[in-house]
């Protein structure tokens, strides 16, 4: 019943002058309910303690463990070996800078995205601790949360051909971030403000709409809808800009 799994794992340590990029083979006996989290940790503890990979929550919540599993970007912690063939190829996510083996630098990419999208509420109202909170319709709160569910795993970026061609493309995660704030009544930015940020080729007009991003998103974010929403919004804003006099 139990299978022997063969892993082909990308190895390269940029900090080791002797290291060359290559695929290394490992074999491991499969156990019940095995996930890639369990498998990779066993490989590290039992076979190669230098093997680099990232896990944090191991519960599909934090977005640390994106990697390319048999050709598809996904969260390793919620990938069960029993859903995979006995040959398993693991590669680091493309687009992001490689740190070593399966680790990539999603942190720097996303921090830069926060700055580029100005990923925060823009408001001139100061907080008044003596006042009741501003009211919000629960449906609005839920719509915002729906977009806020992004865990910044980078899978959508890794799957996106535009992002692979142009490193400055904001990607589905970046555009979804704009959509999140555009939905939020607390944010006082106008369509024109958003247009300044994403009405260009590294924003909505760079997207080719093939939707590889939505297919791989482990949180099933409605990326397709949001990209469409932004494109329409920005399209209209672009037309308005053309006729603007100032």
């Amino acid at each position: 019943m139990s299978r022997t799994l063969t892993f082909h794992i990308f190895r390269y340590n940029p900090q080791d002058p002797a290291s060359q990029p290559h695929l290394q083979d490992f074999s491991l006996e499969e156990t019940a309910n095995m996930t890639l989290f369990i498998a990779l940790n066993r490989l590290r503890e039992e076979q190669d303690p230098g093997l680099m990979f990232d896990f944090c929550c191991r519960a599909g919540i934090c977005g640390s463990c994106g990697m390319v599993v048999n050709g598809r970007p996904r969260l390793a912690c919620q990938t069960k070996t029993k859903d995979l063939p006995h040959e398993i190829t693991l590669l680091p996510l493309p687009v992001f800078k490689l740190i070593g083996d399966l680790c990539v630098d999603t942190g720097s990419w996303f921090r830069e995205m926060y700055t580029r999208t100005e990923s925060w509420i823009h408001t001139n109202t100061p907080f008044d601790p003596t006042k009741e909170e501003a009211r919000m319709d629960n449906a609005v709160a839920e719509a915002i949360y729906e977009m806020e569910r992004c865990i910044e795993c980078g899978c959508c970026i890794a799957a996106c051909s535009t992002a692979r061609m142009r490193p400055d493309f904001l990607g589905a995660a970046g555009l979804a971030r704009i959509a999140r704030f555009a939905l939020d009544p607390r944010d006082e930015r106008t369509d024109r403000d958003y247009f300044e940020l994403i009405g260009n080729d590294f924003g909505v007009f760079g997207c080719m709409g093939l939707l590889a991003c939505e297919d791989v998103c482990p949180k099933n974010l409605p990326l397709q809808n949001q990209l469409g929403f932004l494109r329409r919004k920005m399209g209209i804003t672009a037309i308005k800009q053309l006729f603007r006099k100032d």
């Binding site: 340590n13 940029p14 900090q15 080791d16 156990t31 019940a32 309910n33 996930t35 369990i38 590290r44 503890e45 190669d48 303690p49 230098g50 680099m52 990232d54 896990f55 944090c56 929550c57 191991r58 519960a59 599909g60 919540i61 934090c62 977005g63 640390s64 919620q78 069960k80 740190i99 070593g100 630098d105 942190g107 996303f110 921090r111 926060y114 100005e118 990923s119 925060w120 509420i121 907080f127 601790p129 006042k131 009741e132 909170e133 501003a134 009211r135 919000m136 319709d137 629960n138 609005v140 709160a141 839920e142 915002i144 949360y145 806020e148 569910r149 865990i151 939020d184 607390r186 944010d187």
Partner: protein
Amino acid sequence: MERYHTDLLVIGAGLSGERIAVEAAEAGFDVICLSIVPARRSHSSAAQGGMQAALGNCAMGEGDCPDVHFEDTVKGSDWGCDQEVARMFVEAAPIEMRRLAHWGVPWNRVVPGKSCYFKGGELFEKYEKEEKAGLITARSFGGTAKWRTCYTSDGTGHAVMCTMDNRCAQLGIRVLDRKEAIALLHDGERALGAIVRCLRTGALEVFLARATAVCTGGFGRLYRATTNAIICDGAGAAMLLDTGRVPIGNPEAIQFHPTGIVPTDILVTEGCRGDGGTLLDVDEYRFMPDYEPAKAELASRDVVSRRMIEHMRKGKGVPSPYGEHLWLDIRHLGDAHISTKLREVDEICKHFLGIDPRASLIPVRPTQHYTMAGIRTDKTGAAYGLAGLFSAGEAACWDLHGFNRLGGNSLAETVVAGGIIGRHIVEYLQGTPAPTFPMALVEAEVARQQARIQDLISGRLGRENVFTLRGMMQDALMEGCFVFRNDAGLRACIARLQEVLERTSRLGLRSSGLGANPELAAALKLPGQVRLALCIAAAALARTESRGSHNREDYPERNDRDWLKRTLAYWDEGASLPRLAYEEATAVFELPPGDRGYGGGKIIPADPAHIAAKTRRPHSAC
């Protein structure tokens, strides 16, 4: 070597760390936040339930106020908490929730009209008032008199973490990820910053700061079975213990949860049992009614965890490649219920076990869940022992939770304490001149850390395997210092941990140690982790009573006469056991010790004159 200077160094970019950073940056100070992982991946993002604050907006929270929240918190703590801290916390919590709303948290809001809810498997109705429409609403959580837990759908921690990190980005705070602090810099009087290993390159870096805040989270990973993230490893707390000056408060106060799934110990909610789920053994026999005829699976977390272990000890556990477990059975709840009310559980089963809980049993076992234990601070968040050093969040023992924290109070603590302590840090920075950094001392500490790394790589001191020793430490705590504790078990646990500690002096790597090498990271922190584990076990052995989640089989009573006090564990250089000292649990009683009203157990009362002398304000419910 890279060297950074800043006013405030915050080690940890979870909710507590970033909340402090925001407070200091708003006051105009330069702040750097460090984190092992990108900030939003911090463990705070895993908290799904919510944050307690007595806003009293929803129907089931009507009549709530800070006084009721205070009472729940003190009772929950089994009178182990600092009541002045609890008072500050409950008063500030509602304002903090509103502040978070202002910054962007999409809290769920009150929807007026009729709706239904489940309690103990039964359906009830409630009516939300029109005049409360659109205010922050709340849900129910264990151990509270009112519905008080503010939430955003099934991802409160995640949503608040996003907002806080956005706020940091807005303020231009340098939040640096893949930076792991490995030693605190101090001159014996004052904290000066930290030595940090960059987890991109492996290089050591020096961070010099006028004040340092340690917000490194809980330390569940000292145990083999824990709901905590991989990075909740205790190294931050151990780093302060290693100074010899800063004590760990109540190290024995560790909370457990009855239902983590096997193998990965991901938490499945109490709701499963609340809604009628049962626990079965290897023979698929429902055993809880034999132990707890009245409440069965609905007994408190502590009690259910203990009964599960007891039953497994009788040989009734289900063997598996990952150790023994029991079964959680929710099959009979049916598809309609599982796909709506227990959707999260359904998803966890699907993603991590590949099973359908409508048809299959769920493998579960009790697991570590929360550390009330932590770096001991005063009310302002200042750590004992060194000036310019602060701590907040799960890493700290501020001490809001005493011997048992209420669900929803810890996530709220991160932001409420972060705000309060952040303001005290601002005062400290405003009132204290910058130190002159003794560079010789800094260089010496860097050299000491570099030598440790060299020794690990060269194997000069031995070739002990870090993963083997770490496993031994985790097993020692699981066996001797878990849900059940007794004299013999704790002594055996301590002996094993001392052996592990001794062997850690001979650690050597099997890999190259170059770059972001994970074996080196593990080896650098293990000795500190084992010392921290020894603090837990030694303090548990010394405390000859049962209080909150500290359960001594040989001392089942809560002993207010002798143990209404907090443990302080210090580690003297070269020692093989911590030095234990004690202080009073609280300087002032608002709510004198009494019965919690749940959990049962006998109480040995304190001297009434002593309690009366310290009771300040007669507690009045609002």
